[in-house]
């Protein structure tokens, strides 16, 4: 009976939401602030990827919040899993995995850093690059579970990268402007070194996300 009732409710919810969604102005959204950002972003921020300018400049504190959430999730997972049945897995993984991960490791690192550093030009950025970096460390950990990446090193990178992100923001505040105000000159649109402090911010984000997720995955995989 329980299942039928649930299905009924699910269908009911679906129909209702569809009824409501029919009134959505699809495709012609009143971009109250969208248009203004599209107009001002290239000039004011100088980043080719306008989403990045929104993520790091216009809505910078959202991204800071986002970093803090990931940090909180990793810390909480650490707190929860702290000493749960951590039996260290010794021995080596299979030959294919070991050589594969050795080959992949440098490749993943370069792709990861590429994505992070080109955040303001092409799609992608700190988060996506960070995940790729984490995958790199995780692959090497899978291959050789015994020497897992140093826990201290990870938390150090994590802490410093986060502090760097806030440091850049505070620097703007100290310099008379507002918190997280874009600094440095905007340079040529489309160049690697452009859009002022945005690449630095995304680098900090990338390192932090990478370290955090690597730690998290290592902890989970114990």
């Amino acid at each position: 009976m329980h299942r039928i009732a649930t299905l009924l409710f699910a269908l009911g919810l679906g129909v209702l939401l569809l009824g409501l969604a029919a009134q959505l102005p699809l495709g012609a959204t009143p971009m109250a602030i969208g248009n203004e950002i599209l107009a001002r972003a290239p000039g004011e921020i100088g980043a080719a990827n306008i989403v990045t300018s929104v993520v790091l400049a216009y809505r910078g504190i959202d991204t800071l919040g986002e970093l803090a959430i990931l940090f909180a999730a990793a810390t909480a997972a650490g707190l929860v899993l702290g000493h749960a049945g951590s039996r260290s897995r010794n021995g080596e993984a299979g030959f294919i995995l070991r050589t594969g991960s050795d080959l992949l490791f440098p490749l993943l690192l370069t792709v990861g850093f590429y994505i992070v550093l080109h955040g303001h030009l092409t799609p992608g950025g700190g988060f996506q690059g960070g995940v790729v970096l984490a995958a790199a460390f995780f692959a090497s950990f899978l291959a050789r579970p015994s020497h897992r990446p140093g826990h201290g090193v990870i938390s150090l990178i994590e802490g410093l990268a986060g502090a760097a992100f806030i440091g850049i923001g505070l620097a703007a505040l100290a310099g008379g402007g507002a918190f997280l105000q874009p600094l440095l000159d905007r340079g040529m649109l489309g160049e690697l070194v452009s859009a002022g402090s945005l690449p630095l911010l995304y680098l900090a984000v990338g390192l932090k996300v990478g370290a955090e997720l690597a730690g998290l995955l290592a902890q989970l995989a114990e």
Binding site: P30, R40, G65, A76
Partner: protein
Amino acid sequence: MNALVLPVVLPLLTAFLLQPAGRLSAALARWAGPAVLLVCAGLLVQIALLTGGEPVTAAIGGFAPPVGIVFYADALALLMAIAVPVSALLLWPRAEAGEAGVRQSALMLLLVGSGTGMALSGDLFNLYVFYELLTVASFGLASATGTGRAYVATVRYVLVSGFGSLIALAGIALLYAQTGSLNLAQLADLAPERLANPLGLAAFACLLIGFGVKAELFPVNNWVPDLYACAGKPISALLAGVVSKLAVLVLLRLTVLVFDSPEAREMLMVLGLAGLVTGELAAWRARDLPRLLAYSSIGQLGLLFVALSLPGPAGLAAALAVALHHLLVKPALFMLAERWHGSLDKLAGAGRASPLAAGLFTLFALSLVGVPPLPGFWAKLLVLLELARGAGPFDLTALALVLAVTVVEAHYLFRLVGILYSPGEFRDRHSPRALAVAGLGGAVLVAAMLTLPAVSDALAGLASQAADTAAYRTLTLGGGL
């Protein structure tokens, strides 16, 4: 007034650096947290004195709203912002050794930073992000006790919060599809013509459920009893006290600024009444103290939502009175629960063993029930007066229910007071800090009672300022830095 951002950013910075700092010296990691909170509280008080209660804004990143995110600090926001670090300092979890202790302090700092952010921020999605940060931090802290039941309770809490946050996200999507903006002031401008239709109300319903999880709103509050019974009492006090008020503050901003329609108020009242009745009746049946307090907290917040549904500055004053009263009483009660172990009938003789604690409990019980000279009565009187003013069918049923529920509340509270003072051998857990917090709560309550005229004028000022949407819009959009 760009310094407004510091009380939000400094705790986050310290949290990030706590782990590496822990490497250097354990003492630094242990005392860095409380020290930063003191600094933040000082900063906020200084800002409050500087602005003298006049609202002030801070555009993040230098981008004037509505494009950028803006922090709006009027007297109410500053009051709640100050309450967060202060109560976190008072309710700092017992320091654990080593790694777990550092992580717990980091989570507490994140909780305070996000709490202050929620109080000050003027952007809807920014509020959502801080709300999520608050939630994730509370997941970690709630499961810190390490017992099996705490983990299960936290998992259920994670699921309900997850459900709430995805509904809130859907709400934000609906809202954005209709108005194209996230800044509360601009939403207030666009609301009359864009959000008046059922879809606008659906967006409000989604946001209500989303932010209602932490505000213990009716459909999404069944995680409350188990979590407060299993999590540490300080964290339960923090969650039930200041954190739930922050969520209510966000909803207050939404109802006052953006969704000012009668249907929205009706929805708030119905859900509030449902929470009030189920909470108090469940408390009447509870047989252990933490869950009794949890149910009573649901009931009190139900009353707060009923108060929130009352239109106009007078309704807002009533809501603020109930909110501040609950913010004062509930953490103190939870700290008393830390001194006494769970079951009710094991508390016999507590009156003789710890007379001060039992006396304080009686004082709080009297104020919760609303016995005249105490502030609890004036808060309830304001709510009842506003309900009577409405005189609609909903209002009168609400009036009758609030009064009827008070009788049930009086019965189970004073059944417990009777047990406290009945003869029996009893030894309570020695926790001086619990008594200190409860004593402080009691002292402030009595002080509020004695200086009632001054408190009531301040409250009226607070409410009228918060209800003044025109000032909010002109100041925020007018680019007043």
